[in-house]
């Protein structure tokens, strides 16, 4: 049990980051992570490899998120946009930086779900291509092609003029 604690606990911050990047709403993301942890604890004995539990935890979280997307899609509703790291960067000097980050996250959100997931797992969460293929349950070739498309697509978005002065910030401020 203490072994389980020792192995899972250090991964929680990364799980939160991944969940947050997928659903963009703090409460919804933390609910997903909580579900993920409960499942991980219940199924700890049944995990396949005794090595690194990170990909296994990401796989659980990812599947929960996908199920939630499906439910949201059938309801025809989209997740709300949340404030992005407002607590951490509040000073005026950091204001510009913060707007750039918000812009990047806003543009990331425009990618199709499956491209976004691949890009996050590899570029942010440092999973290997093989681990990402396991998490997403797709062949490694598909991982590579999705990664390629995700980067190309995100670059197109980034090359457009920033959304900063218009919709994004206004939307953020007015969201509850």
């Amino acid at each position: 049990m203490s072994d389980m604690l020792r192995q899972i606990e250090p991964v929680i911050p990364a799980l939160r980051r991944y969940a947050r990047a997928l659903v963009r709403n703090r409460a919804a993301a933390d609910d997903l992570v909580q579900d993920c942890l409960e499942r991980a604890v219940r199924h700890w004995q049944q995990r396949r490899d005794d090595g690194n539990p990170r990909p296994w935890l990401f796989a659980i979280l990812h599947n929960l998120a996908v199920n939630q997307f499906r439910r949201a899609a059938t309801r025809g509703k989209h997740v709300t946009i949340d404030e992005a790291g407002e607590h951490e960067i509040g000073q005026q000097a950091a204001q510009e930086q913060k707007l750039i980050y918000q812009d990047v996250l806003g543009k990331l959100a425009k990618l199709p779900d499956e491209q976004r997931a691949v890009l996050l797992l590899i570029a942010v969460e440092d999973l290997s291509y093989a681990e990402a293929a396991n998490v997403l349950n797709i062949p490694i070739g598909t991982v590579m092609s999705r990664l390629s498309r995700a980067r190309e697509r995100l670059q197109q978005e980034l090359d457009r003029p920033a959304d900063i002065p218009s919709s994004n910030v206004v939307q953020l401020r007015s969201s509850p």
């Binding site: 049990m1 389980m4 604690l5 899972i8 606990e9 929680i12 911050p13 990364a14 939160r16 980051r17 947050r20 990047a21 933390d30 609910d31 992570v33 909580q34 942890l37 409960e38 604890v41 219940r42 199924h43 004995q45 049944q46 992005a84 790291g85 607590h87 951490e88 960067i89 750039i100 980050y101 918000q102 990047v104 996250l105 990331l108 890009l119 996050l120 590899i122 570029a123 942010v124 290997s128 291509y129 590579m144 990664l147 390629s148 980067r151 995100l154 670059q155 980034l158």
Partner: protein, 254 residues
Amino acid sequence: MSQRPIAEDDLHAYVDRALEPEREAEVAAYLKDHPDVAKRVANYSDQRCWLRSALAPFAEEPLPPQLNLSRIIQGQHRRPSSFRWAIAAMLMLAIGGIGGWVIRGATQLPAGGIAALSQEASDSYQVYASDRTRPVELRDSTELAAWVSSRLRQPVKLPDLSKSGYRFMGGRVVPTAHGPAAMYMYDDDRGDRLVVLTRPMTSDQNAPMAPHASGNVGGFSWADDGMGYSLVGPGSAETLRPLANEIRKQARSI
């Protein structure tokens, strides 16, 4: 330097620092000669930095109480494991009770079916899994398999759950209203015990896997080609689904 052409995959692996040093040097040399590709690769590296910086604050936020892992673990070790499961179990019992009452008048359920099997398995679990002195009669798997095969009048193979973290403890023949059944018991490192009950079916010769719950135990039952199987363990049925699938797979491969 090798003559392998640079592929799109190499460019991504270069950005993700996933290349062997030699190959990385080759890609770097290639990029020096191809400024347009180099520009694209630089953009992808920038993306990587921006994404990491933009998302970093989320990983640094203090964990809310709901994500306290020690508490989650404690919550699941208490029996009934959590309030949610207790409610779920109560609902299932209520639905089962009402459903059973409604169905009772219309169609009498076949007495030897998997509902009966589930009940027998739960009863065996309650009696034997809680027994700290002599939970099983035979611990030797070869001896047990021979005994069970002769009593059930067909060859049986004992399910092996070691890959799922459950050790085989042994088993015994137990009585049911539908003749002798074999009970096998397993435990894991925490001492949690599981029971598998199997016997020839008098009805429901083939039945899909279905969850069942009774009190604070749950599990799955199914029937294949005249043999019924029921898996019972502490807590909710759903946690046992992978194990039930494993047992069914092994039984089918006899």
